[in-house]
Symmetry: C2
Subunit: 353 residues, 2 copies
């Protein structure tokens, strides 16, 4: 009999991470999980079809070297040994926690931020310690204070739900003071003006994670990666599943990394829509935090967010209602196509006026 | 500076699991990692191509329900809630260890057996305890003895490298005595006469893992699953990555589970080749352990195994040389196509005579 006492206590204590709702495709305008509203590059689809005819009965390359070479090239890294490929950046984050943080040890994260980090710490039986952003979404220097048993700091940049960024210069300062690795989770960095990739080359304890789920429009294939010193990549490779990425998604991700023109154009479109959407939301009485990501964090000054969320849902529009307790609640709305955004703005206008 | 003291001690202590060699495709006759020598069903390739045109910019179904329904149907389970889909059965094994075994706690495994189990325990900072098979590859009842802090028992059945099985009735006896879950790793069960799937329905602490890498010829797509009581599936789902399987491999695996005719015919062919290969190896002076899997474990009575391995490698044939210390070494040879097996037998004949 598998009774509850048989699991690790950390597991039974878990509520489990609840990702954004995933309704059947087509029914909703889906602006709740920061997916790219556009299909991925055609080259990626073609690469998948070609890989489908390949030797699927054989194990894939355990280290996804073709991808690592393409990623190093795309990001100007010295070589593929600076890249660790994973089954989504979720797997990379899991490996980082399992690699650095033991049971009872500490993980530092900002607040409000990506809720998954706390779940990853909880699964490990580790302790998470939150440092709150101030009202302007600035991160206090206390984020880099020494603390007993502090083993890892995770900083999403741009942050979710705010879409705000911590500057490169502040990240260098934080890393200089921290006595543990600082992971900069750059899931949304392609939508921002700057990123921390080059800092990895110069600062030993800065690690960067990336995903193909957002800017490359490939949430469906689960592919993310770590950018770190070769020694760190080698050490963390020891704890990944031997064949953590499949042959098809390696082919897809490799093709994607070569589509720099597509990437630039896609991000340009999304940023243009984001700007327009932010302006229009402000006209409707929202306080909109200036975003460097593919979503905006907005708070209405009169109407309850839960009410707006439910109204939109009743109209087949999904956005993310997020409640951060003392820090308040709000709506995180992903940037959709212009047509989707127009539809949402139209609905909000009719509801709020 | 990420120095070695920053990692969890369990991680720095790891040598890391070394999977079988994966040379570039085409150059070798590859009989070292128990892949299926035949391509997967055409329906699977078609399903991948169709999924490639699907909404790849969207996250996949987090619980792969289409696959779970197909798997439950194929295996005669009461419903999809008895199935947990994973990124290869490697991920399922990782989740089981992370779900049940804490740092310093115990995992029981047979010996000689699948070396990965020890690595998974080591990553977790857990302790593995081996119970040796006897000379006839029978498992002593001591495998189910109580022990302080014993949290999980892992039993590959058929076993690797031997290809031998522990009977269903003995597995029931073991599970009745064990005070922890007993995981029967059935990676190779489609090549055997019986399996333990139905035991999961009747025995609360028997869990079964399966993979599509072997009998379905799909090592390249990374798909495996757990068969367990719905409560166990729900509990372990809390610790998996939210979207652990990608949209393309979910489509591929779902299509595969519907190819029962293909599966039966493929296994029939491999078993026929296995029988012939075993007889011929015996004629060449090998002691061949009767196999219920898609490989054979053989030991030569005169010639050193390392020598045979090197000879075959020099002739572009890869087999697996495995050394289990006091239990001796031997060669594990995957069952290839008839043509591949003929080539290997021909080489061995010329070398050994």
């Amino acid at each position: 009999m598998v009774n509850r006492k048989m699991y690790r206590p950390a597991v039974t204590a878990l509520a489990g991470y609840v990702p954004g709702e995933q309704p059947p495709p087509g029914k909703y305008i889906k602006l709740n999980t920061n997916e790219n509203p556009y299909p991925p590059p055609r080259e990626v689809v073609d690469a998948i079809k070609q890989a489908a005819e390949g030797p699927l009965n054989r194990y894939p390359d355990p280290i996804a070297n073709a991808f690592r070479i393409a990623a190093a090239e795309a990001l100007g890294l010295p070589g593929p040994e600076w890249v660790l490929a994973g089954n989504g950046s979720d797997e990379i984050l899991t490996l980082l926690v399992r690699g650095f943080v033991g049971e009872g040890e500490k993980l530092r994260i900002p607040f409000p931020s990506y809720v998954l980090y706390r779940t990853l710490a909880d699964i490990q039986g580790a302790v998470w310690e939150q440092v709150s952003f101030n009202d302007q979404w600035e991160l206090p220097a206390e984020f880099s204070d020494a603390a007993g048993n502090l083993k890892l700091a995770l900083l999403p940049n741009p942050n979710s739900p705010s879409g705000t960024v911590v500057s490169r210069s502040q990240i260098v300062e934080l890393s200089d003071r921290l006595e543990c690795p600082l992971v900069v989770d750059e899931a949304y960095a392609d939508f921002a003006d700057e990123n921390c990739v080059s800092l990895v080359l110069e600062h030993d304890n800065i690690l960067v994670t990336r995903t193909l789920s957002k800017s490359y429009g490939l949430a469906g294939i689960r592919f993310g990666f770590l950018i770190a010193k070769p020694e760190v990549v080698a050490e963390l490779s020891k704890i990944k599943d031997s064949y953590n990425c499949d042959a098809i998604s390696i082919a897809a991700a490799t093709a994607a990394m070569k589509c720099s023109g597509w990437l630039a154009e896609n991000c340009r479109k999304i940023i243009a829509t984001r700007t327009r959407m932010s302006v229009e939301l402000e006209k409707l009485g929202f306080l909109v935090t200036p975003s460097h990501a593919n979503f905006v964090w907005c708070r209405h000054q009169q109407i309850r967010h839960a009410e707006i969320y439910e109204f939109l849902k009743s109209q087949q529009v999904l956005v993310r209602l997020m409640d951060f307790g003392e820090s308040g609640d709000g709506l995180r709305i992903s940037v959709g196509t212009d047509q989707q955004v127009d539809a949402v703005l139209h609905l909000l206008k009719s509801y709020l006026s």
